[in-house]
Amino acid sequence: MSTSTTPGSRTEPSTGAGDAKAARPLKALTIAMFKGFVRDRMTLFWAIAFPLMFLVLFGGIFTSQGEVDPAEVVVVGDVSVIDDAPAEAQKTIEKSVDITRSDDLDAALEKVRDGDADAVVTEEGGEVTVHYSAADPVAGAQIQGVVQAIVQQANTAVYQQSTGEPPTFMFASSQVEDDSLEQIQYVTPSLLGWAVAMSATFGAAANLVMWRKSGLLRRLRLAPVRTSSVVLARVGVSLVIALVQAVIFVGLGVGAFGLQLSGWWPLMVPLLLAGTLAFLSIGMLAGAVSKTEEGAIGLANFIVLPMAFLSGSFFPLDGAPTWLRAVSNCLPLKHLNQGMLDVMVREQGPSAIVLPIVILLGFAAVFATVSARLFRWEA
């Protein structure tokens, strides 16, 4: 044993360094908490990978809706409406159908029956026939539509040539998605809101219960740290996690799914910070009243998951009944999502985040007060 520590080598309590002293335990606790978080694969999964899965899922659904896979069509023999179509029409055709040529009608029909091709197109004496399978009515209908349009176009051209007059009726179509929000524009801000809410709530709830159950809170009670340092450490960790989530979400949204940010997007940072505080304090409450980690996580789930649906995190509530929208307005996540949408994709400025931030901080204050009341050091 080498207790070579002479009384002189002891650290003298330095005067006037009160703040520096308080900062050290806070920093140490924050680092310890953060390492504990990063080293736990499960919490990492729930905080980062799980919400990302949703983004990829929704982003993926959007892409496959926007650009439908071209249908496989076998053209048997000469089909003049397709072969003689003007160059412009050819392009449109190529976009929506994949054409292969064949002379063997029976083999081509067999292909359709087996599902290897979606339809066979033949022409005999000016009559264009689409052979499709009832097994895939969607593809069948799609090809019928395409071929019908081609035939119509050819008819119009013939009519125009013979009469020299434009046709009486014309058909035009236009997508509505430029007017409202495209799917990815909607889901990135609102899923990010949900992700931040979830990890802040779960993190605080699980952390509090874990430290209480392991006796660490008790041990810390004997150490010269303030209760506020323990709480602030958790706040620090959760804020960092929220920012990391934001970077990953926005990065993936812009990089992979064509998310277009409005000029005011940096305003999402203060919004996210306020949202983190609100959901931290909700998590603290869940942690304060739960005896086990499982209980705390269950309670957090019970709060956050329904709230996510009611706040439009997964799909917009525009079509929801009035009473549902009224309920939604009482939820902090609704206001977080609203603010996020406004500044990230709706070109709204600083005034759009004032009300959400006030509401979120209000929730934070109320829940923090209640959980401070219910806080227990020991199991």
Binding site: M1, S2, T3, T5, P7, R10, T11, P13, K21, R24, P25, K27, A28, L29, I31, A32, M33, K35, G36, R39, D40, M210, S214, G215, L216, R218, R219, L220, R221, L222, A223, P224, V225
Partner: protein, 300 residues
């Protein structure tokens, strides 16, 4: 540097259970003090009240003249604690635990290697706490109690899970701390350990203080019979019973045990008969005192 501890008519009740019943004692600065007692005697309750973790139902405790329950940081910085069940930051390594506790107590973390060596965990410095064995955790917990070089150390069954090597090495560590003038208070179920380390011990049972004195004085007071051990081959049971001064003779796994109050006569007789194979002689131990005071029944 040493710190005085006063416990004054301390009583602690949990509903119908009186965990500590009117206990008073003083630990002098620089003293090595042991709290002994069967399971549920109230050792942990007493210790944790002195540490400031529990507030007494009645009575008063003071550490260096101050109330530990007030959690004054400058008093806390002078106290080191190892609780009966160790608690760590999840998924931090051994050395990170010490760094964190060190930072919390506001001390430079330069002597961590030393500290890990003292508790024999140098090899496990970078192992996460979840991967340590029970005894290794216990040792780390003791290191965490010592990281800020406290003036008084409270240890609740520090050697409970330790192997004989670790136990003896830890004794050296604790003796070293005490030799440098620091106060040490520990609880233990190992009477040999208390006898070896403690200047004074208090024996408690059912929340009451039964005896408080130096181990030597307690053993002398007991005035126990001398126990003479012999190999089975040395003597037949019949012959042993007829030895002069033999009060009782038992045959156990390690041989014959003869209890006597006239050891001189009896040993002389054994010498005359040249029946000294496997001889061992022992006078009462602290364990005898303990059993004499607290009886042999199980505690709840």
């Amino acid at each position: 540097m040493g710190v005085q501890i006063e416990v004054d008519h301390l009583t602690m009740r949990y509903g119908a259970v009186t965990a500590v019943d009117d206990i008073s004692f003083t630990v002098e600065p620089g003293e090595f003090f042991g709290l002994l007692g069967p399971n549920g005697a109230g050792k942990t309750t007493t210790l944790e009240t002195v540490e400031g973790l529990r507030s007494p139902t009645s009575g008063r405790v003071s550490v260096d003249g101050r109330d530990p329950a007030k959690r004054e940081p400058d008093l806390q910085r002078r106290i080191g604690v190892q609780l009966q069940s160790s608690a760590f930051f999840e998924r931090l390594t051994a050395v990170e635990q010490l760094q964190t506790f060190g930072a919390i107590y506001g001390v430079p973390t330069s002597r961590l290697d030393d500290l890990l060596e003292q508790v024999g965990l140098t090899e496990k410095a970078t192992a996460q706490v979840e991967d340590l064995s029970g005894g290794q955790k216990q040792r780390l917990s003791i290191a965490c109690a010592l990281v800020h070089d406290p003036d008084v150390v409270f240890l609740d069954e520090p050697t409970a899970a330790l192997d004989p090597q670790a136990r003896r090495n830890l004794w050296d560590v604790l003796r070293g701390i005490n030799d440098s003038g620091r106060t040490v208070v520990l609880t233990t179920h190992y009477m040999e350990e208390a006898e070896e380390l403690c200047d004074r011990v208090a024996i408690v049972d059912h929340g009451r203080l039964l005896e408080i004195d130096t181990p030597g004085a307690l053993i002398r007071q007991l005035d126990a019979a001398t126990r003479i051990g012999l190999a089975t081959e040395a003597l037949t049971l019949e012959d042993a019973r007829r030895l002069p001064g033999a009060d009782s003779v038992t045959l156990g796994g390690s041989g014959l045990v003869i209890e006597t109050r006239e050891p001189a006569t009896l040993l002389a007789e054994l010498g005359r008969r040249e029946a000294l194979e496997g001889l061992s002689v022992s006078k009462g131990t602290l364990e005898d005192v303990f059993l004499d005071l607290t009886g042999r029944e199980y505690r709840a």
